[in-house]
Symmetry: D2
Amino acid sequence: MPATHDERSGDPAAETISYLGPAGTFTEAALRVAPQARGHHWKPVNNVGEALADVTAGRSRAAMIAIENSIEGGVTASQDALAAIPGLRIEGEFVVPIRFSLAVRPGTMLVDVRTIAAHPVAYGQCRRWLGANVPGHTHLPAASNIASAAALFPDDGDERAPADAAITPPTIRDYVDVEVIADGLEDNSTARTRFALVGMRRTVPPRTGADKTSLIVELPDERPGALMDMLEQFATRGVNLSMIASRPIPERPGSYRFVMDLDGHVDDARVADALRGLRRFSPHVIFLGSYPRADGAPVDVSSAYTDAHYAEADAWFRGLVDRE
Amino acid sequence: MPATHDERSGDPAAETISYLGPAGTFTEAALRVAPQARGHHWKPVNNVGEALADVTAGRSRAAMIAIENSIEGGVTASQDALAAIPGLRIEGEFVVPIRFSLAVRPGTMLVDVRTIAAHPVAYGQCRRWLGANVPGHTHLPAASNIASAAALFPDDGDERAPADAAITPPTIRDYVDVEVIADGLEDNSTARTRFALVGMRRTVPPRTGADKTSLIVELPDERPGALMDMLEQFATRGVNLSMIASRPIPERPGSYRFVMDLDGHVDDARVADALRGLRRFSPHVIFLGSYPRADGAPVDVSSAYTDAHYAEADAWFRGLVDRE
Amino acid sequence: MPATHDERSGDPAAETISYLGPAGTFTEAALRVAPQARGHHWKPVNNVGEALADVTAGRSRAAMIAIENSIEGGVTASQDALAAIPGLRIEGEFVVPIRFSLAVRPGTMLVDVRTIAAHPVAYGQCRRWLGANVPGHTHLPAASNIASAAALFPDDGDERAPADAAITPPTIRDYVDVEVIADGLEDNSTARTRFALVGMRRTVPPRTGADKTSLIVELPDERPGALMDMLEQFATRGVNLSMIASRPIPERPGSYRFVMDLDGHVDDARVADALRGLRRFSPHVIFLGSYPRADGAPVDVSSAYTDAHYAEADAWFRGLVDRE
Amino acid sequence: MPATHDERSGDPAAETISYLGPAGTFTEAALRVAPQARGHHWKPVNNVGEALADVTAGRSRAAMIAIENSIEGGVTASQDALAAIPGLRIEGEFVVPIRFSLAVRPGTMLVDVRTIAAHPVAYGQCRRWLGANVPGHTHLPAASNIASAAALFPDDGDERAPADAAITPPTIRDYVDVEVIADGLEDNSTARTRFALVGMRRTVPPRTGADKTSLIVELPDERPGALMDMLEQFATRGVNLSMIASRPIPERPGSYRFVMDLDGHVDDARVADALRGLRRFSPHVIFLGSYPRADGAPVDVSSAYTDAHYAEADAWFRGLVDRE
């Protein structure tokens, strides 16, 4: 297998980033597209909880975790952890398409495949292709989308390998000496997972004009209309939400918090204004950070809510009254 | 008649305040309850237009004008003038109950009354009492609620006075040597007129906790819901409106401006915030001033919108992000 | 003077309509443009209260009253009466431009004018023209804009007439044998008064597509945002307000009712829906009627709120669930 | 293993319900608490897609699927399927606590455990307990939370079983002849999964007073404030949302649909009114059904929005105008 991305030998100041391993997972694929992760030591861990514990304990500078629509589990755990652990900040978001390939030992033909190693969730998402192309096979469960490839080789002392083929990410050849004989096994070709690089730095990446800000907010009361009153804080400042999800608050049955992404950066006047308004509205606002959007699409701001417009209104207000 | 309140002889720095005269009108009664008017020269003029022209030309420091529910006319003219003349500011509001009395030459008895002098609008508001108590009388129109009392005395060279009785404010005895033989002639005993002292000073009276702020705002567009979007600027800051009236904009048929009073002072954080929001919402916001409420009733502010709460949210916001 | 418009002799079924007289007032001008008033007996009365009392007592079928921006007074009285007297309905609105002319006895020249008879409010609105064109004149107050013209003729037994000129509506020649020597005396040439024909019929004029509906609504509570919640009832149905004015409720200090005109007819699905919503929101909703707009301008309804769209949504809803 | 719940032999009319198998999964646990599932044939399938395909093809009358916070995967797949497949209706919701136990062959002691069979996601959620109580063990991946228990027994012809212990639901003894030697292995003891019984019946369960209605709605446009305008449809009818989640629309990048649960039943007047309003607001509203809440908590309806209040307002409206 290839070396992990550890340049610590060359750079003694290199920092560690924890991620759901082993190397080769979709989470690692997210690290590969994250400029912030380059030149750092990538530490594979077993789940989101361990990754975030590394961060809060100072063992790692950051963690890459799935936060939306994950194939590898843990999204609601991620959201709940971001709400529960004080001080976490999202430094960037990264979207990875979820594609599956069929890997074999070099030389194996599809007709020879009898046993297929696969993580059960991945296996569940390739049913249609498998039914059409490898009817009558046996499923050997694997602990991860990478561990499946290990089943193509005999364990020490064994003669036969446990599996003839493995369902893996398309990038498996970067990690294991296998051959990919089919791509696009996934039933849903548009599936993608959103990851976040999470740390505890209290600075924010500079504004790019194509930014996102993540928040978790509790409603101050449960009456109908309270959610609308919260959203008014955004609408009156021309701030668009690109994601909202309610999550029950475990300690307060019948109460909800809202995980939200809004278009814009905390350095945008309208976002700053909305944040202050939210804070007055609700005593429980968690600011999870501002960072560039994965899709790089510039935020379209109505002229009534630009920084220039805010500055103009502030100047107008200051000029209203003479102070003696 | 008594001297007007002119202390210029004693105080060469005394300023002039114009009002709808003559002395004795309800407008003058408003001046009498206005602390700001004490010690100044009060200049009677013929209508609101003249009073405001005195102010804009610098002939008077301020003008007292009726702005709501006036018996003496001119309310919509006042509102339109406040929208049209740049730089006017309301320095205080004063509410005067509208009461009418029947004044006669000393010695006249009610049974002797045949002709009653009265401003036509005042006359129209005392119909019930007059019908019950002086049936069969004749109405002699008068130019004002004070001019009516002048009709109790013969013109130079005449033998007989034009009228036997006059409808006047209850305070008429302060101005003319007459006797009041009946009070409470008005059909509607709850009628009251709201007056404003209007000048061009760009300072505001200090905050008292029982203040009002007056505005005129144009909607940026005419779609249904635009008015609601404007009111959202107040509601999201917990600001209550105590008065709203739409007025067609003469130059733009089908368009409206809104004359509004809100509870609070421009020095209240929530009012300042609402003003900035309004200005971003609409390019046409006229700030007419903050001033103590005539009724002295303290403004009840929800704890979510106090200055302390604003300061707390601002501090929270400033602490969100470390700046390098 | 011309006969009042009484065709009762010819038509025994002719009904009576009360209005603020005498014949020739702006209120009568409103009757002249009202199709509903043709062929009826027009009864001049002294004020809005008398006019409405005629209606509630059954002496008149309807009354014409000023409801916005009146030169003849009484607008807030009209609004308060509509709120206080149960069962009143507006059958139509009529807008009359407020213009003033200078009337004289035939042959009189402007240079000969010394004394001008005028209702005080009208006089106050012609100051600029009078100052420029008849400096040094004397004002003789008149009880109405028509009574002023009577001052051009001597009283019985007198030799001289009280006045040389009178400020009157432009139509004065239809009523009195006078000559008009100047038009357009008014300071504000855009002033116009809105009148309403008010009766107790519980039917509504048919929908024309250019209709208005008038309401008076009390807020259920006084918290900030209650007004916005009320307006939401309109905004969520795409209903535009063309007029709104707050009026204090005399019996409940600190409480307000709102006089409102909305674009559309009670037979429009979106208006019906808004009315039902308002009624659930507030226990105090007074429906004052639906009637054609004075300006005849068709109401522009977003496609989302047409009757067809309502019918489509109703059909969709009925089809959602099979009932056994 | 015990027989599946198939009473078809006794009742030839028994219908089939598909679920994510095998017997013993948390999804089957949801079937066990669903009164609607009693007496029917329960058909285990491999994933949500197969379960819903059974329903749409008529092979099953209904399917039990996870729709919130699932340990077994597929929640976003469920939500997307409900949006994509026309005619699906939720007939009931069922909440199952997610608890894990450690199962062994009878007689095995904890100290003897070396290899633990577990579904990878379940394994990930028991890390803390395993680290503290079985340090140094080996993880044998299993295809499901039930398949793990099969690893406690040797395959045909083998001498040794693949695993010494298995992570399973607490109910495993109902299915396999094993012994449970530890309960409460899960890191998060409050985790629970919400399941829905989904069919194509176009009737709805009767109103109980503790009901929920599920919807999927697309915004008609993407401007900021569109989401708030949608929520206004609920707030103006006093309808509370208990869940909301945005989901990107695959075919329209940058567009969102909203999966929502609201408190109340389609037979509640306020819910019916909100549904009609939503349909006018958005052309894309999917009604997923009304059904009793899993928690049985009665919906608290403000008196302004009860059926009686709706009926009163409707009666008021019908009485407003006499129709000839």
